[in-house]
């Protein structure tokens, strides 16, 4: 009997954020893994959590019970690029540090997909992935997918604005944003998906 893993050797990176971001991402991952063929295609999934985030792991494990059965720890803890209300000057340093971390992780793991939905944690990962792809380090089919937060109706989040130029697909939920950014070739609007 073959014991070879059917998982892709290039993981999927899913970036988690606090509160509502994780709740939204849980729904997305649940829908994604509904099809058995997707389980194979996207696994192994690695969930990036900011080290200050205490609730996301619990939320995710509650939404995806199969997670806890995974032998490898699917969570990777990283420094946060910016805390809510953090002064802008110190933000520069913490962002650079987070950028170095994400660059190292992306270089090490070579993810096939970086999936994120808006928390500040995802910005360094988006840029690191883009850079690694340019440098030829990532598999050629590597993609960056950004799903804007459900609560962004008329304006993009800061993370959204920063990652809009880089994302292969940029998803919005509401008609006002779809109209405003419809001219961008990477924009996708399916109505609300949550």
């Amino acid at each position: 009997m073959s014991t070879t893993s059917t998982k892709s050797k290039y993981p999927t990176y899913v970036i988690l954020g606090s509160g509502g971001h994780t709740a939204e991402m849980c729904k997305i991952i649940q829908a994604l893994l509904l099809q058995p063929s997707n389980c194979e295609k996207y696994q192994p999934i690695r969930y990036i959590v900011a080290n200050s985030d205490v609730t996301s792991q619990r939320q995710l494990c509650a939404a995806l019970p199969a997670l806890t059965k995974d032998s490898d720890d699917p969570f990777i803890s990283v420094p946060r690029s910016r805390s809510v209300g953090q002064k802008w000057l110190s933000t520069i340093f913490s962002t650079l540090w987070a950028l170095l971390w994400s660059f190292w992780l992306i270089w090490r793991d070579r993810p096939q997909l970086v999936l994120c939905n808006g928390p500040g944690t995802c910005v360094p990962f988006g840029y690191a992935a883009y850079l690694c792809r340019l440098l030829g380090r990532l598999p050629t089919h590597c993609k960056i997918v950004f799903v804007e937060s459900y609560c962004r109706v008329e304006t993009l989040s800061l993370s959204g604005r920063l990652l809009l130029p880089l994302a292969d697909i940029f998803v919005v939920h509401w008609p006002a944003l779809a109209a405003r950014y419809g001219h961008k070739r990477n924009l996708r609007y399916f109505g609300r998906i949550l």
Binding site: S18, G19, G20, H21, A23, E24, K27, I28, A31, L32, L34, Q35, N38, K41, Y42, T55, A62, Q112, L113, H141, K143, V145, V147, S149, Y150, C151, R152, V153, E154, T155, S157, D168, I169, V171, W174, A176, R188, F190, G191, R192, I193, L194
Partner: protein, 171 residues
């Protein structure tokens, strides 16, 4: 519509103004008039209501008040007849996905109040009501919570997204 059990939630935020108004006389009177018997306050990172005040509410308005910081709140949401919350995405989704009438209160103290966009959009589609802190008493007293539209699941649209993602990953 009777609002026997009302659940107030602020998620992970600090929203002192909402808790203050929810335990103020105009709101408590309005709740009492609408036959409220239990008020559950999830205070998150806000300053909790004092014990003495909780007892007073119970005595003066015959409304039992339960208060906590954080806990998995699926049961609290299911048990509520109406939910009053901040405009966070998680809270809005919980309210809508559980088919509950909701009143979203916008936090004026937040710098970048993009939360208002969501509350306004959902309210314009008649899925819930939204108001400012100063309007809570009036809203609780007078709004017809039975008139809200049920929120349909977005399964088809989510599938379109999954299909698009699959297509992207196979090229």
């Amino acid at each position: 519509m009777h609002l026997k059990v009302v659940y107030v939630t602020v998620g992970t935020t600090k929203f002192d103004a909402l808790l203050k108004v929810m335990t103020s006389d105009p709101v408590l009177s309005a709740l009492k008039d609408r036959k409220c018997r239990k008020l559950v306050l999830q205070h998150g990172n806000s300053t909790p209501v004092g014990e003495t005040q909780l007892k007073l509410i119970s005595t003066n308005y015959t409304i039992e008040v339960e208060q906590y910081k954080f806990r998995p709140n699926a049961e609290d949401i299911r048990a509520a007849d109406m939910i009053i919350g901040h405009a966070g995405a998680g809270t809005c989704m919980d309210i809508l996905n559980n088919g509950k009438p909701g009143l979203i209160v916008v936090n004026d103290e937040l710098m970048d109040n993009h939360q208002l966009e969501l509350a306004r959009q959902l309210a314009s589609e008649q899925y819930l009501y939204y108001c400012k802190v100063s309007e809570v008493a009036d809203s609780v007293a007078n709004l017809d919570f039975g008139a809200l539209k049920p929120y349909e699941k977005a399964t088809e649209n989510m599938q379109k997204f999954v299909d698009a993602l699959n297509e992207l990953m196979t090229h």
